[in-house]
């Protein structure tokens, strides 16, 4: 595992850049634990100070230090993405493996549900959820809801792999040796789909963070918790853009863009690693 990591780092430029970016972001979010100010509090420093020696990235119109605010925001945003990805992976793995392995009626019913989740308009449902949950709509709950809504694509992917695994000889062998479907799925099939799960995790994080940013900016989440989205929300509240407080918007946008690019590069590199065909074509050794 470590060796793969080292090789990827050495030979895959995308992986290396992705790792660098994501480490910077993670590093920044870890810094949030050393913030001199409580991240929720306002008017702790002079407002509207442009980037300077004292305040590296400037201060907001709410009297918060953009740098420290951003570290907390990145931390919460990242945690959010990880939480959504983790929960939705469990769902999509279960549905995908069961559907692919069982086939028949089970498959059809599960895939109908699956397709429903792909087709229903997500955004209004999230907004409605916000209205129903209100104060209890903490980021943890939002993560849970997003996970419950965001597994369908990947479940389909995993299902297709599981379907092909079902026809392999080793599966029949397992059946003849008396393993239960659950055992076959968890012991035999799971390891095959894990690499896919890993690369979809990163893409799912991108998706969920993007959703979170959008929802927060429009004010449909708990805006007391600093996240990249809620930072932008407050900046818009203070018309920071036209008021010339560009640093309040620019830094979080740059940070989140970097995070997206970083995660995406990692996902692509991993995908390539998983699919040897594209790896070969990169090495120029195809055919």
């Amino acid at each position: 595992m470590l060796k793969i990591f080292r090789d990827l780092l050495r030979f895959n430029l995308e992986f290396a850049i992705g790792t660098l970016i994501v480490s910077i972001i993670v590093g920044l979010s870890v810094l949030s634990f050393f913030s001199p100010y409580p991240p929720e509090d306002i008017y702790v420093v002079a407002p509207d100070v442009p980037p300077s020696w004292e305040y590296w990235l400037g201060t907001t119109s709410r009297g918060q230090d953009v740098f420290w605010q951003m570290t907390a925001a990145l931390r919460n945003t990242l945690l959010f993405g990880i939480a959504v990805a983790a929960i939705s992976r469990v769902i999509s793995l279960t549905i995908g493996l069961v559907s692919g392995y069982m086939g028949g009626m089970t498959d059809r019913v599960l895939m109908s549900i699956n397709d429903t989740f792909i087709i229903i308009p997500l955004f209004p449902i999230l907004v409605l959820f916000y209205f129903v949950m209100r104060d209890s709509m903490s980021w943890a709950l939002l993560a849970l809801i997003m996970a419950a809504l965001g597994w369908a694509y990947d479940a389909r992917l995993i299902r297709s792999v599981a379907m092909s695994l079902r026809t392999r000889e080793f599966t029949s062998q397992c059946i003849f040796s008396g393993m239960s479907p659950r055992q076959i799925m968890t012991r035999e099939h799971l390891p095959y789909v894990l690499p896919i799960v890993f690369s979809t995790t990163l893409n799912n994080m991108n998706w969920s963070i993007g959703m979170e940013v959008t929802l927060s900016v429009l004010g449909f989440t708990d805006i007391n918790t600093p996240t990249i989205g809620s930072m932008l929300y407050w900046a818009n509240q203070h018309t920071a853009l036209v008021a010339g407080v560009w640093w309040w918007i620019a830094w979080p946008v740059i940070a989140v863009m970097l995070l997206f690019i970083g995660l995406y590069l990692l996902a692509t590199a991993l995908n390539e690693y998983i699919d040897p065909r594209s790896r070969l074509s990169r090495m120029g050794g195809a055919t």
């Binding site: 050495r10 030979f11 090495m283 120029g284 050794g285 055919t287």
Partner: protein
């Protein structure tokens, strides 16, 4: 003995012919060159090959897998793409009406001779047809522009060609996945020969087929050759196929030609220890125990052994084999071999 072989018998040996051969390969070198983050790797897949193929002749190339035979014929067919690059030597064809030096041709000229004069049956013919196109479309894509006739006439010609090869014209309306393996292979051969090219390169066309189908495909190739009097360069690792089909045979080992001669001569009197090994590994009826394999593995061509590349596995290797590359030596009757032992007369 088939009529064809008899025919060969009556004709003079190739090197006696004054006219230019159908294919002349001289000192051909083609290496896989990879550069990856500053590390250059070179694999000498085709290393200094010289050979001639006459008109109206089936020339076979044999060798283990990864002996470079596939790379060689790809290079001859001009079907290489990076990282396999030609680093030296020439490939000259004589199609009767025109002579070409393959690697000095402009790409569009090369495109022009393809299929009209030079056809290629690729390894793994099962997947060489576009799965989303009907067979008829493939014939049009490949051959229409060479035939110089209007579409209805062209299609008629294709159907006639298929009929000649005992194929139903109905296959034209099929998608490749609707055809059986053997049928697909025959369609590919029909496709390769529809323009009646003077030179056909076939890379393991029968490998994936079962024995019965294999036999019928080989019969088909032979019939085509006889009818069109084309030259065929035929590659397979299966010595039995060579014995049945080819007129002359070249043996490759680790990117080099080690022995060449009339197929019959080679089977009767193999001079190179590697050839001997290949022939001995053919199963014969009545064998009591399994054939003995050769010890060791083919060499790593990125870092080939010095001297004769076969020496690490050669049962009769001598000191000279370890330092000096054995030169190709004519033994008469078109029989050539590159082995120090033969030169020094230690083997007969």
């Amino acid at each position: 003995m088939t009529l064809h072989q008899l025919n060969n018998h009556l004709n003079p040996a190739p090197e006696a012919l004054p006219a230019s051969p159908a294919l002349r390969v001289d000192g051909l070198k083609a290496y896989y060159q990879t550069r990856w983050f500053g590390i250059t790797r070179e694999v000498r897949a085709v290393d200094d090959i010289t050979l001639r193929i006459e008109h109206d002749e089936i020339y076979g190339i044999a060798g283990e897998s990864s002996s470079g035979k596939s790379s060689l014929i790809k290079t001859i067919a001009g079907a290489i793409r990076p990282p396999l690059n030609v680093v030296g030597g020439t490939v000259n064809f004589d199609f009767g009406t025109r002579k070409v030096d393959l690697y000095t041709l402009k790409p569009e000229e090369r495109t022009a001779i393809r299929w009209k004069h030079l056809a290629y049956i690729m390894q793994g013919s099962m997947s060489v047809l576009n799965p989303l196109r009907r067979v008829r479309q493939s014939f049009i894509d490949f051959a229409f522009r060479h035939m110089g006739m209007p579409m209805p006439a062209f299609l008629k010609a294709v159907e006639d060609h298929l009929l000649r090869l005992h194929l139903q014209p109905g296959v034209l309306d099929s998608y490749p996945h609707e055809l059986s393996g053997g049928m697909r292979q025959r369609v590919v051969i029909a496709l390769a020969t529809v323009c009646r090219p003077g030179f056909i390169i076939a890379d393991e066309p029968t490998t994936a087929l079962d024995v019965v189908v294999q036999k019928s495909v080989l019969t088909m190739i032979r019939e085509v050759q006889r009818e069109m009097r084309a030259s065929i360069l035929f590659v397979t690792h299966d010595m039995a196929v060579h014995a049945n089909l080819t007129d002359r045979l070249g043996i490759m080992y680790a990117g080099r030609l080690v022995e060449e001669g009339r197929t019959r001569d080679l089977f009767r009197n193999p001079r190179h220890p590697y050839t001997l090994h290949l022939i001995r590994s053919l199963p014969r009826i009545g064998d009591a125990e399994p054939r003995q394999g050769l010890e060791g593995t083919p060499p790593n061509l990125a870092d080939p052994p010095p001297g004769c590349r076969f020496h690490p596995r050669c049962p009769i290797a001598m000191d000279v084999c370890r330092v000096m590359v054995p030169p190709m030596q004519a033994l008469g009757g078109g029989h050539r071999v590159a082995c120090h032992a033969v030169t020094e007369g230690t083997v007969q």
